[in-house]
Amino acid sequence: MSQPIETDVVIVGAGPVGLFAVFELGLLDLRCHLIDILDRPGGQCAELYPEKPIYDIPGIPEISGQELTDNLLRQIAPFNPEFHYGEMVTALSRRDDGAFDVETDQGKTFNAKVVVIAAGGGSFQPKRPPIPGIEAFEGKSVFYAVRKMEAFRDEDVVIVGGGDSALDWTLNLQKVARSVTLVHRRPEFRAAPDSVNKMWALQEEGKLEFIQGQVTELKGADGLVSGLTVKTSDGEKELTASRMLPFFGLTMKLGPVADWGLNLEQNLIPVDTEKFGTSEPGIFAVGDINTYPGKLKLILSGFHEAALMAQAAKRIVHPDQRVVFQYTTSSTSLQKKLKAA
């Protein structure tokens, strides 16, 4: 375990609300580290609908998820937040001094006086196909990502899906695997046209096989796949397979948040509407992951929650300081902070 990172605040989740929390906390001189399982900021805005217009951000008639994310990053830049992407917070515990130890699945640890959970619908994880018994094969012969190509050398690999991940790995693993079969429900792909052309060319040369259909059954024992059944338009096909890689995009799962000792209601974290505090003092929850009477899962609601949360967080980090509420339009000290970038 590496040296712990000392900070005022750890924000779990770098979606729009987590990002804006940096602004509100920054105005109050609190330093933030953000941790997100995705490889970039923006959360659902970036992952689910980067190009779709959002119409209900106050003062902005229309903006895409990506533009909103980019704007927020610019807005919080003066506060120098530090980002930790591709990491999931696995453990959160209170220390003897009342602060928190935060650990990630990449072995990083943080010492934070305040933790803000802005995790939306949880962490984005690969969608699991509803194939009976698939759990038993996961991590042994069914994988949702390729970490080392060598692990697929001389294997009979079946790749399922029609996006860039499916096509990229079909092309790459074809070089090391004994056989590669790509299974997709239709002969069109939403992947880079160049990859699709390469795939068809390799199929022409007999170096891989494309099957139009959907996997319905996995066969094997002790976590090792031996074959699978594909439903096609002309009946079922049996394939030999020793590895399967399903690529159906990501879905949100609550994940380790459930293990942090917080009260939960239907996978949401109940908070008060004054500070947006959870059942644990010093741990706040803002945005889609919290719930309270009248809660609306709107970005604008999350922004409001972040502003109120910041006032309470300040009192925890600096109990000795008087919190003076100031406006960015009139306060020279706030303006100085914003121009400090």
């Binding site: 689910l48 609908y49 779709k52 949880g122 196909p129 509803p130 996006g163 159906f248 879905t251 899962k297």
Partner: protein, 111 residues
């Protein structure tokens, strides 16, 4: 107006429907279990339904972005649609759909 929905447990629900609402919203707002993660942006395919075959001709034509998003769904058939792309009209009064695998929220998953 109403729609008929068969949930993942096979239970039939007759739901009152309001014109202009997405079928996904009607299912969600009546409290049935549907993930509908992206909230209607045609992006996540977690509101996938199988439409009763006799209703297929009454539906608005499927658009390319819906066909592409269905690549992220499971058990996709000729009668597969994303219920967020079906807007309730008089024409669809009585529509019958079955929630497809992969639309369950985590809560019920564990149950």
């Amino acid at each position: 107006m109403h729609i008929n929905v068969i949930d993942r447990q096979g239970v039939h629900h007759r739901l009152e429907a309001l014109e202009g609402f997405r079928v996904m919203e009607i299912i969600r707002d009546w409290g049935l279990d549907i993930k509908a993660e992206c909230g209607g942006a045609c992006a996540c395919a977690t509101c996938h339904v199988h439409v009763s075959p006799d209703w297929m001709d009454h539906l608005p034509e499927i658009r390319d972005d819906e066909i592409e998003s269905l690549d992220l769904a499971f058990d996709v058939n000729h009668n597969s649609r994303l219920s967020c792309q079906l807007i309730m009209t008089e024409e669809l009064d009585g529509l019958t759909v079955t929630l497809a695998p992969g639309t369950e929220t985590e809560n019920r998953d564990a149950a």
